[in-house]
Symmetry: C2
Subunit: 244 residues, 2 copies
């Protein structure tokens, strides 16, 4: 074995993680930024739970994904935005060549997703972060090792007409942090997050656009968010990134 390149085995190992249709399916599904459970991914890919478990262990060990155990669930996410970018690059490279209108459309869909979207059953994107910040600033939500609603917070939800107890028993925590994909900061998940998302859609604060998970904040929504939580319209814009 002559000089060669000592980094080839590492490259091969990384590529090997994505070189299986099932693992690739997992990674593509996880590109939505959500945290999936092992079982969900298994069903989605159409393989046995045991098979999925082994694959996920590989992907986690390889650093592409990270896991978060919670009770009997194993929540799986893509490790970080760089990894997501890499997977997207590879997927784009292997997919249809240029896709004339597709690229343009995908870009605008991307920014729409970054503004506001659903994540599972709660709100994410700039909107999700803004709400989480506002709740925290008003003393309705405390961010410790986890998230927790204060008494004032419980009162606020009740005042809006959201009954957190009616949302399916006690099988789920009331407030939970969920790492936001585009913002890289945790937003409100859990029962209260789901209730708030449902409420927002029912009250017309935002509407779904397209068949995607993307949302659009309505004028009414902008006004109500300002009234109820002091959220300024500017907070719903995508300022930080320098993209046109």
């Amino acid at each position: 074995m002559p000089s060669s390149d000592h980094s080839a085995p590492q490259l091969a190992a990384l590529a090997g993680l994505l070189a299986d249709a099932t693992r690739a399916t997992f990674c593509l599904a996880l590109l939505d930024g959500r945290a999936w459970t092992g079982g969900e991914l298994a069903r989605y890919a159409g393989v046995a739970p045991s098979t999925a478990s082994a694959h996920l262990s590989q992907l986690v060990a390889g650093g592409l994904l990270v896991e978060e155990r919670q009770g009997r669930h194993r929540y799986i996410r893509i490790a970080n935005p760089q990894t997501a970018q890499l997977i997207e690059d590879l997927a784009a490279f292997s997919g249809p060549p240029p896709a004339p209108t597709g690229t343009l459309k995908a870009r605008s869909v991307g920014t729409a997703l970054a503004r506001a979207r659903t994540c599972y059953d709660h709100l994410a994107g700039r909107l999700g972060i803004a709400i989480t910040d506002a709740l925290t600033a008003r003393g309705l939500l405390v961010q410790d090792s986890g998230f927790a609603l204060t008494d004032d917070g419980l009162g606020w939800f009740a005042a809006q007409g959201m009954d957190l107890a009616a949302s399916g028993g006690s099988r789920r925590p009331v407030a939970r942090p969920c790492l936001d994909w585009t913002e890289r900061r945790p937003h409100l998940s859990g029962l209260s997050g789901a209730a708030l998302c449902r409420h927002a859609l029912e009250e017309g604060w935002c509407v779904r656009i397209g068949s995607q998970r993307a949302l659009k904040v309505t004028d009414e929504g902008t006004r109500r968010l300002h009234e109820l939580l002091g959220i300024e319209p500017e907070e719903l814009e995508l300022a930080p990134t320098g993209n046109p």
Copy 2:
């Protein structure tokens, strides 16, 4: 098998091409932009020629590499700059994390390579293109389906003291186009290209820097290139790209 993602198999197939240490070694070696022969790659990776042949067929079929048959040789190159970029991205991702000085150094090495370098045994990069253009403009070289020196061209080489016949018999064409990696345009290869490169180094027009294939055009070289071929110093700069 539920909805899933129909593009997963394609992604897996692409990743699978790089998921083997030998194929990864090939691709990393080819990142230098040169065209290697199958045998060279086989020796470099330390595998049997037959094994290498099969791997190369896969990579070509997969679109990562392209081949150019020439006599009994099979010249292999990376298909296009986008592919090279992808491989580099993956390699960087799998390699050591940030590499404090490494990244910086690699960047400057990269620009040096883009300015002037050897490609096999001839000149490439901005320098190679400038020379090829100048020879063509002066009627010394014609670019048809291939490259060919004119009578004037043969005379010019002789006048510079380069004996093209003395460079190893007739086993190689006098002038041949070679696709330049950084410029994406063909530059002069073949016997005359090799002779010119040797001449340039002997006369001190350029010197090797580092252990790489990178070259630096000396002040003397800049002057002589202007005298002999009318090449302006600006032509040796990297203008087109907008990188800082």
